[in-house]
Structures are given as structure tokens and as C-alpha cells.
């Protein structure tokens, strides 16, 4: 309103036009994203070392024949893998969008800020010291680790007069990740069996997880997504700055607690199932903002869709790149995501904040 007054009428119409075209572009992005997501899921079901014809895949669902190898591949391997991609991908992405909004930090990502490392460390403790082997047993540990890491990084990063600057949060995250990985590797090196299990899990992959794992984390991640949507409106206020946000009546403390719980559910749940996958939460919200504009509701929805697409595409590409062997999705997301981080670091805006 005040903008229109100070800038005059032409500026207002330009702004309105911009808003309208943004409005169109975000709906377009959602439609295109949904189509792409369906394509990626179908590809994830069909493509692999053994590529399966669509009609056989359809049969696997309509008239399952347990003696058919291809039906078993679809039902027991490709379907959980695809669903986990959908769940874990969207969860890592949205948790990044949540942290970025809450801290107003363009470099925030559950991987960079040590949240994934916290979850991974608690899983290592569960597997290496307590001898737990199944996801039911260590899911709680992953979430405990995620919440502990979030709390520590935020406490370290935010102590000081001018609050949690991006630099401090990143440094605190790096330091925490280093400490946890050091202690974690001590534990696994003392226990070869845990080492063997962890070296596969810690790459970050959606392959080789059964339907039980998917079913275990699905409610956790779904709750996290709901929370992220509920938090979108208060986070829009947070984007205006802490003072303005509190005058607008957004409960800052409550919002932050909500974000911490959301990040815990999303990053903790996804890490427990897929292992620590970095950079989705960094890249996708950044890219999505080109279409969505600053509205957090659209950022969350589009981030969920495009993060799932990205992890599924990375996973399918990983099956093809070095066939008959496979590259884990976590490796490909790191190879794509790290250059994005470097580019962001070279932009003055990100580091000068």
C-alpha cells in the first residue's frame, strides 16, 4: 500500500502486472512439476538394470503374480524405492525451505547446518553402540539427533547481540558436523559390523529399502509437511523482519519452535530412511523462488514437488550412468548441489548478509 503511494501509479501497475505474471508462473510451475513428478515416478518404476515394460508393470499392480520376477521387482524393489524418493526427497527439500525462511539464511540446508549429521550420529550410536538393526528401532534416534543438532547449532549461532547470522550458523553447523563425524567414525571403527552397515547407509540412497521402512517414515514425513504448510503464513511475516513480524502478531517464539519440530520430523525421518542426503534443501528452495515469488506457502508446495523430482531423477540417472552398477542418489545430489553452494558463496548477497 505504502509502496504504491511512494512510487506512483505507473509503478503500481507494473508491480501488479509482475504479481499477476508471478501468479501465473507459479501455477504453471506446479502443473509442470506435477507432470514431471509423475513421469519421474513412472521412470523410477520401469527403468533400471532390468527395464520393465509399462504393461507388465501395470499387471504387477492389477494381477500380481508372485512367480514373475518382473512383478516381484516392481512390487518389492521399485515401488518402495519410488515412494521413498517421493517422501525423502520432498522432506529434505521442505526442511531446507523451513530453515531458510526461519533464519532468513540463503545458505541454510539441513546438511550444511549439521541437522543430517546429528540424525546420522544418533543412528550410528543406535547401531554401533546399542546394536539396533531395524529402522523402527533407530527412527526415534534419528529424530532425537536432528532436534539436538538443530538446538545446538541455533544456540551457538544465535548467541551474541546481532543474532544468528548466516556465517555463524554455517560455521556452527560445520563444527558440529565435524565433531559428530569424528565421534561417529570412532564408534564404527570399533565395530566392523556397524561399519559395514553404516558405510552403505551413510551415502544417502533410496535403493534397497523395503516397504516397511517406507510405511514407518511416511506418517512422520506427512506430519512434517502439514506443519510446514501451517507455518507458511507466520513465516511470511518473519520474512519482513523480527520486529515487523511481532507487530503483525506472528508469535515468533512459537513459530521457531514449530520450525524446529518440522525440521526434526522431516530431516530426521528422511535421514533415518534414506541416510543423510545433502543439498536438496539448499538447491531446490532457491530454484523454486524464481517461480513462486516470496510466498512461503508456494515455496513449500513447489519445493516438495521439485525436490522429489530431483531425487528420483538422480536415482534413475544413477542406475543408468555406470550400469550394471549403480550410483546412489546421495552421491549425485552432492555432485549437483555442491557447485550450487559454491555459486551462492561467490554471490555477494549470500556472504555479505
Amino acid at each position: 500500500m505504502s509502496m504504491g503511494v511512494t512510487l506512483g501509479i505507473p509503478a503500481t501497475t507494473r508491480a501488479q502486472r509482475a504479481v499477476r505474471s508471478r501468479g501465473r508462473s507459479k501455477v504453471l510451475a506446479l502443473v509442470a512439476g506435477t507432470v514431471l513428478l509423475i513421469v519421474a515416478m513412472v521412470a523410477s518404476l520401469l527403468v533400471g538394470v532390468r527395464t520393465i515394460a509399462p504393461e507388465i508393470a501395470l499387471q504387477a499392480f492389477l494381477g500380481f503374480d508372485p512367480t514373475s520376477v518382473e512383478h516381484v521387482i516392481i512390487r518389492d524393489y521399485r515401488l518402495p524405492r519410488t515412494l521413498l524418493g517421493l517422501l525423502a526427497g520432498s522432506a529434505f527439500g521442505v526442511s531446507g525451505a523451513l530453515i531458510q525462511a526461519a533464519t532468513r539464511n540463503p545458505l541454510a540446508d539441513p546438511g550444511i547446518l549439521g541437522v543430517n549429521a546429528g540424525a546420522a550420529f544418533f543412528v550410528i550410536v543406535a547401531v554401533g553402540l546399542l546394536g539396533l538393526r531395524t529402522i523402527d528401532a533407530y527412527l526415534g534416534f534419528a529424530m532425537l539427533g536432528a532436534v539436538a543438532a538443530t538446538a545446538v547449532v541455533y544456540a551457538v549461532g544465535a548467541s551474541g547481540r546481532d543474532g544468528a547470522t548466516p556465517m555463524r550458523l554455517v560455521l556452527a553447523g560445520v563444527a558440529l558436523s565435524a565433531v559428530l563425524s569424528g565421534i561417529g567414525s570412532s564408534i564404527t571403527l570399533l565395530n566392523p559390523q556397524a561399519f559395514d552397515q553404516m558405510r552403505h547407509w551413510s551415502i544417502g540412497s533410496i535403493a534397497g529399502r523395503d516397504m516397511h521402512i517406507v510405511a514407518t517414515v511416511a506418517p512422520v514425513i506427512a506430519t512434517g509437511h502439514l506443519l510446514a504448510l501451517v507455518l507458511a503464513r507466520p513465516l511470511n511475516a518473519v520474512a519482513l523482519g523480527d520486529e515487523l513480524a511481532s507487530t503483525l502478531g506472528a508469535g515468533l517464539g512459537l513459530t521457531r519452535v514449530g520450525v524446529a519440530i518440522g525440521v526434526t520430523l522431516l530431516a530426521g525421518g528422511a535421514t533415518a530412511a534414506a541416510g543423510p542426503v545433502g543439498f536438496l534443501g539448499l538447491m531446490v528452495p532457491h530454484a523454486v523462488r524464481w517461480f513462486s515469488g516470496p510466498d512461503q506457502r508456494w515455496i513449500v508446495i513447489l519445493t516438495a514437488v521439485f525436490s522429489a523430482i530431483l531425487i528420483l531423477v538422480a536415482d534413475v540417472a544413477g542406475r543408468l550412468l555406470i550400469a550394471p552398477d549403480e550410483l546412489e542418489a546421495g552421491i549425485l545430489t552432492a555432485l549437483i548441489g555442491a557447485p550450487v553452494l559454491i555459486l551462492l558463496a561467490r554471490r555477494r548477497k549470500a556472504t555479505g548478509l
Binding site: 565435524a178 563425524s181 565421534i183 567414525s185 564404527t188 558405510r199 548441489g337 553452494l341 561467490r346
Partner: protein, 320 residues
């Protein structure tokens, strides 16, 4: 004074390390064993088994402390350590390639580690360069490059069979296991060659800390000095990594601890080296004796050094 205290502490730690183990040896017997007395059994345990390890911990720690001091002076930043610019991750990649792909032994791993570390440090430095080097950008670029290499490392480990992967992981954590007298000689020779050079450059280094203009006005060639210091810092770090694998966070923490102890405005070289040696001695003793079975020393330094890093961060924040 501080120097004498540090040397004294180092001697005590060495004595403790020489006496602890499955066969405890009294302090008097250690002295006897070192000068050629004591029973042959005790002499073998002390002189042939424990002494090389203790000496290596001291020497490698000194090299790390010195290298860190040089880097922090060069970048005028307490975070300007070779660990932060991806040297460790890169050297691990180099060693893994040498071991798991090319099938090399310890020597080849050492060479691979040096090449990998140098290449990574140069790449990180180049990507972070934008009208000069800014600390935070360097760190973030370091995270990015390290993440890519880390993914590659994990993938290599996943491919390998379990014993090879476990051996690689132990090496990658940084360990003094399996090192002997020949390694002591190598490290001692390198340190003997590089330390006088570093001391010779100490004065111009101080002047560079005050700013290029001032340094040039006192007759110091800024770029030549900087290049020479960079080569020295990297050579020290590379030697350690080639021998023991990447031992992280000592190069970061030791100079800062030394600076606080000495109440010095800049990073003191000799005290940094001694503190580094002390840190590694203590860390290796912990790694060897504090747990059910011995651990690589690097797991101790990363945990303790990382906590110190957090503390450093909090301190800087409070001051700002």
C-alpha cells in the same frame, strides 16, 4: 618461560606414553631402557615399540602446529587452516584412489594423498578467489568441494570389500598405527630441513601480518614471501598426511591455543609447533588407552578440535 613449561609438559606426556600399555613400565626403567640398561624385554617394549610412536606423535604434531600457524598468518584468519580448505578430504580421495583403484601400498597412498590434497586446496582457493580471499567464502567453498569429494570417497569405500574399506577408513581418520623407525627418520629429516626455513621467514611473516604496504616499506617482498610461506605450510601438511593420513583440527586449534597462552598479537611459530606436538601426544595417548580397543588418533583430534572450534566461535561472537 612459556616455552620451558611447554617443553616440560611434552617430556611428561612422552614419559606417560612410554610407560603405559599392556606392560606398564616404571619411569626409572624407561630412563634405563633409553640409555641402554634395563632388561631386554623392557628395552624392546620401550625403545622399539613405544618410542617411535611417541616421537612420531610429537614430530607430526609439531609439523601440524607449524603448518597451521603459517596458514593462519597468511590468511590473517584463525580459520585459515588446511583442514578448512579441503586438504584433508582431498588427500583422502587421493589415497583412496591409490589404494582401492590402483592397488597401491602405503607409499603410493602417501603420494596419492599429497597430490590429492594439493590439487583440492588449489581448486578451493581458486573458486574462493574474488578480488582476494575472504574467510567465510573460503569456508563455504571448502564445504562444497569437500562434499563432492566426500561423496566420491564414500562411493569408493562402498565398492571395496570390507577389510579394505575398514583399512582405508582407519587410514582416512589419521592414525599412527603400523608406523616405525623409518617413518620417524623421514619426518625428522623433513622437519629439520623445513623448520630453519620457516624461522628464517618468521620476521618477514610478522611484517606481512601488519599489511602489505608496511611490509614492502620495510624491504619485504610481499608476494615472494607469501609464496615461500605457502610452499612451506603445504609441504609440512603434506608430509604429515603422507605418513599418517589426514589428522584434522590440530593445525586449526594449536596456533590459536598458542596465541592465547603467549598473549601474542600474532601467531607464535615455535609455541604453535610445541602445542601441536603436545596435542597429538595427548590425543594419541587417549586414542590408545582410553577405549576398549585402540582408535586412530585422528578421531580424537577431530572431536576435541571440533569442540574447540565451537568454543572459538562462541568467543568471537561474544566479542563482536
Amino acid at each position: 618461560m612459556l616455552f620451558a613449561v611447554l617443553v616440560g609438559l611434552a617430556l611428561v606426556l612422552m614419559l606417560v606414553s612410554l610407560s603405559s600399555g599392556r606392560l606398564p613400565v616404571a619411569a626409572t626403567d624407561i630412563w634405563a631402557a633409553l640409555v641402554g640398561g634395563a632388561s631386554p624385554n623392557v628395552r624392546m617394549v620401550v625403545v622399539e615399540w613405544r618410542l617411535p610412536r611417541v616421537l612420531l606423535a610429537l614430530l607430526l604434531g609439531m609439523a601440524l602446529g607449524l603448518s597451521g600457524a603459517i596458514f593462519q598468518s597468511l590468511t590473517r584468519n584463525p580459520l585459515g587452516s588446511p583442514d578448512v580448505i579441503g586438504f584433508s578430504t582431498g588427500s583422502y580421495s587421493g589415497a583412496l584412489v591409490a589404494m582401492l583403484i590402483l592397488g597401491g601400498g602405503p607409499q603410493e597412498m602417501g603420494v596419492g594423498a599429497v597430490i590429492g590434497g594439493l590439487a583440492t586446496a588449489m581448486i578451493v582457493y581458486a573458486f574462493a578467489w574474488k578480488n582476494g580471499i575472504q574467510g567465510f567464502r573460503l569456508i563455504v567453498v571448502g564445504i562444497g568441494v569437500s562434499a563432492m569429494l566426500g561423496a566420491f570417497n564414500l562411493w569408493l569405500m562402498r565398492q571395496a570389500d570390507l577389510p579394505a574399506a575398514l583399512a582405508a577408513a582407519i587410514w582416512g581418520a589419521g592414525t599412527l598405527n603400523g608406523l616405525g623407525q623409518s617413518d620417524v627418520k623421514l619426518v625428522a629429516a623433513v622437519l629439520l630441513a623445513l623448520m630453519p626455513l620457516t624461522i628464517a621467514l618468521a620476521r618477514p611473516m610478522r611484517q606481512l601480518e601488519l599489511g602489505d604496504d608496511l611490509a614492502v616499506s620495510t624491504g619485504v617482498s610481499a608476494s615472494a614471501t607469501r609464496l615461500a610461506l605457502l610452499v612451506l605450510g603445504v609441504a609440512l601438511m603434506a608430509t604429515v598426511t603422507a605418513v599418517s593420513g589426514p589428522i584434522t583440527f590440530v593445525a586449526l586449534a594449536a596456533p590459536q591455543i598458542a596465541r592465547r597462552l603467549a598473549h601474542a598479537p600474532g601467531v607464535p611459530l615455535a609455541s604453535s609447533a610445541l602445542v601441536g606436538g603436545l596435542m597429538l601426544l595427548a590425543a594419541d595417548w587417549l586414542a590408545q588407552h582410553a577405549f576398549a580397543s585402540p582408535l586412530p588418533v585422528g578421531t580424537m583430534t577431530v572431536s576435541i578440535g571440533g569442540l574447540y572450534f565451537v568454543g572459538l566461535l562462541l568467543r568471537e561472537i561474544r566479542r563482536s
